[in-house]
Symmetry: C2
Amino acid sequence: MKIALAQLNYHIGNFESNTAKIIGAIEQAKTNGADLVVFAELAICGYPPRDFLEFTEFIELCENSITEIAAATKGIACIIGSPTKNPRIQGKDLFNSAYFIEDGEVKKVVNKALLPTYDVFDEYRYFEPNQDFSCIEYQGVKIALTICEDLWNINDNPLYISSPMDELIKEEPDLMINIAASPFSYNHDDNRYKVLSDNSKKYQLPLLYVNQVGAQTEIVFDGGSFVFNEKGELLDQLAYFKEDLKIYEFADQEIKGYTPIEYKPWPDVKQIYDALILGIRDYFYKSGFTKAVLGLSGGIDSAVVCALAAEALGAENVLAVLMPSKYSTDHSIKDALDLVAALGCKHEVVAIKEITDAFDHVLEPAFRGLPFNVAEENIQARSRAVIVMAFSNKFGNVLLNTSNKSESAVGYGTLYGDMAGAISVLGDVYKTQVYELARYINREREIIPENSIVKPPSAELRPDQKDSDSLPDYDVLDKLLYQYIELKKSSRDIIAAGFDEELVKRVIKMVNKAEFKRYQTPPILRVSPKAFGMGRRMPIVGKYLS
Amino acid sequence: MKIALAQLNYHIGNFESNTAKIIGAIEQAKTNGADLVVFAELAICGYPPRDFLEFTEFIELCENSITEIAAATKGIACIIGSPTKNPRIQGKDLFNSAYFIEDGEVKKVVNKALLPTYDVFDEYRYFEPNQDFSCIEYQGVKIALTICEDLWNINDNPLYISSPMDELIKEEPDLMINIAASPFSYNHDDNRYKVLSDNSKKYQLPLLYVNQVGAQTEIVFDGGSFVFNEKGELLDQLAYFKEDLKIYEFADQEIKGYTPIEYKPWPDVKQIYDALILGIRDYFYKSGFTKAVLGLSGGIDSAVVCALAAEALGAENVLAVLMPSKYSTDHSIKDALDLVAALGCKHEVVAIKEITDAFDHVLEPAFRGLPFNVAEENIQARSRAVIVMAFSNKFGNVLLNTSNKSESAVGYGTLYGDMAGAISVLGDVYKTQVYELARYINREREIIPENSIVKPPSAELRPDQKDSDSLPDYDVLDKLLYQYIELKKSSRDIIAAGFDEELVKRVIKMVNKAEFKRYQTPPILRVSPKAFGMGRRMPIVGKYLS
């Protein structure tokens, strides 16, 4: 039996394009002699559809697409993810399902049992967990079909009280297929490899695994679909960060023609770079925009965002706006202009002194000579946001946010100022990782000016201001933040791990106090196991522990 | 047996104040001869603790509080909600539990089985569902103790496949107790009454029900705890929107000394008014702020917010900033000043012409004489946000957002402009309901100027602009929005219900296109069954159906 794995980039709710793409892959698989073509979890509608699932019309459109796709499977079979209605009155109204369609006919519907409901996942919000297990039989092959999380209950502290494969294995299947929507983070592929390999080993079956690829607002799918033999050895892999379709022959209980290969993950920085490029590109493409705008300060963050945007969208579609104030240094303007020249993107220079003077003047009677403080600092950042948003409103360019994860974490940013934007490119990238990205972007030639990389970071909102005036070195800060945000450790444990007590308490307090700011920031392209946004849900008005 | 129901206002994560409050109520109950005192669901830590639950330190602090509270129960018993660790390796690490503590000792832990995971609820994100049921025995009384949702699986399309009371009833209990954290919406109390009454009737047992009271950022708990007899008849009720403690005697299988009373819900507008007052007050109190600032336009929305804030915080703590532009009408300024005078709150007048002229001037070279459009309109709204935020940064006043649900729905607002604020007071109140609130506020004397109520609404961002230039009448708009947002109907069904086809498509498209804006708005005080925010999770980059 020849089995095609179709790793495609879906668009949530775009049934027309998803269905056309799926039927195209079925045709291609058929042309190349495949007997079965396998698509990802919720391929019909894209993942995650979120509360679209609560609209009955949305479910009808999924069903219509299935009908259309079924009609395209004459002489072939396919496995494809879709929500389906729960026929029972009791329980949630939907299942997260996989259709098995053969020669134009739906032969079986397999439902997902383990519903991830943590971090960015909300599956139990919508779906009833399956409790009824059986294999698919096709061309004399018994297939144990599971959906994503169904294979993930395999560690020492399992999240669920049962495992679907423990049921399915009783029917003595020949092969495992798992269809997934497994989002990218820089360390997730390693876990995924291990979990899938462990499943193959445990159940002593070959495993074909199909992931989604493409970005859906903040969530990026990296593809990289796997093929394992019955010993858990990797036989082959589909492309990362792009669509792919490959056909494998299963006969005599094995995948033919492959010998085990080594699993070689990419360096984190290369993964993050590719994820951000895909994230930007799909955000624009799927929302129908082509042009971006951003504020370019001469600092490292906006330089990296500008370079990523130029790569993702084409330099001609990127407008960089330089907005110097009286506190901007000459080298900042030069560094920004050097970057614009290196990339070949458009730019405008709009000095903000006249604006901030006008604010100071109209506020003078009310502020009664009170000393310069954060109010005046924020007026500068917010005036810049008004300007870039005016460009956005006037010319239709979408504003890219340039805040990084370190400053977003400690609240070192101005709400409605530099925290503005339609999508945050670096909001899940710590400052030290931003430097790595800059070096990576410069791997062949100097795109980001060396000076932007080596100079001490500064917000330039008051004379001679440096980030290090109010923040520890980013090397220390980022490690500390990782302990608190990614690992969710207490201040006690972080101090015990060797960090300075006063610093730990100060930094954690800054993180906690900034929850209200982060609540109002744009969606953040997720590249880490714990990004700000949907995957991290903290109270705003709560008493924090540290 | 005398049973005290303690309906208290908790603060999420504030173990010190919650524990002190709980011990205070135990002392009060003891003094008044109670044998048992009953607290709400997750009373230990407040509801919803969200991802605080993922910090092991947080769970330890819950356990410490339980130890402290147990020590205060000499000679009395208590039932109290708290997260507890799941002793099994399999499944989620926590249960949502109720401790039964008697005379200083934890005698039993009852776990919640039905975990609401819809709208604002995320319980399966954190908790393992209970599958093991038994009653509490105390002073010869067998108590069927359940937690909130455990009693809600009683309708024709049950969300869960089992019901805890169906198990507990097998032990022939004498009494039902349900501890809850059941959030307010203007129609929720009616459902709650019916569901609880139906449980009493179905299981033929008296029911004591304890709810939380108080606001936790966007979620408001209205209290209103119920006491039912074994026929489902209402015997008594605790106060709405404030703390309360009452003692009931259970003997001879019944609650002594009460005869059935009629359940009389308040008018919606009174409920919403009280919920918003409590929402504002607790937002400030629990986050340690006292003073508010808001932009006052002379229109109805900001007038209502100003009046609510003055009631919640004291007029002396409210600063209204009038920011007229060249498009502001004289009557707007007069209406705003009349309101300030009626309330006795502080005000400042800061004309924005100098600011907007400065923006126009610095943008002139780039905008090259392109016609006035939404860019210039938004510059006005955003300049005002810069000004009110400057007041906030200079004087420590918290910015109240004044957008209403109708304009938030259709995107009739400026991101980083009038959509700014720390908390949105009216973001879940449709414009037609804002008028009702204004009338309610004026029920005894004219506080909101009559002119603000009767004049046609206008954003005043261009000459002679009216909301009705680009939006249908709010009477029609709000009804249409309700069909789409609250009822999640498709355009087809809304048209079938009698709405104009072209209008339905235009309005739904406006709602869908504004998702990216709403993603970045402040938390919204939730008063309806479907508020924007945590309870409504739509894709940003998705292809919408209409």
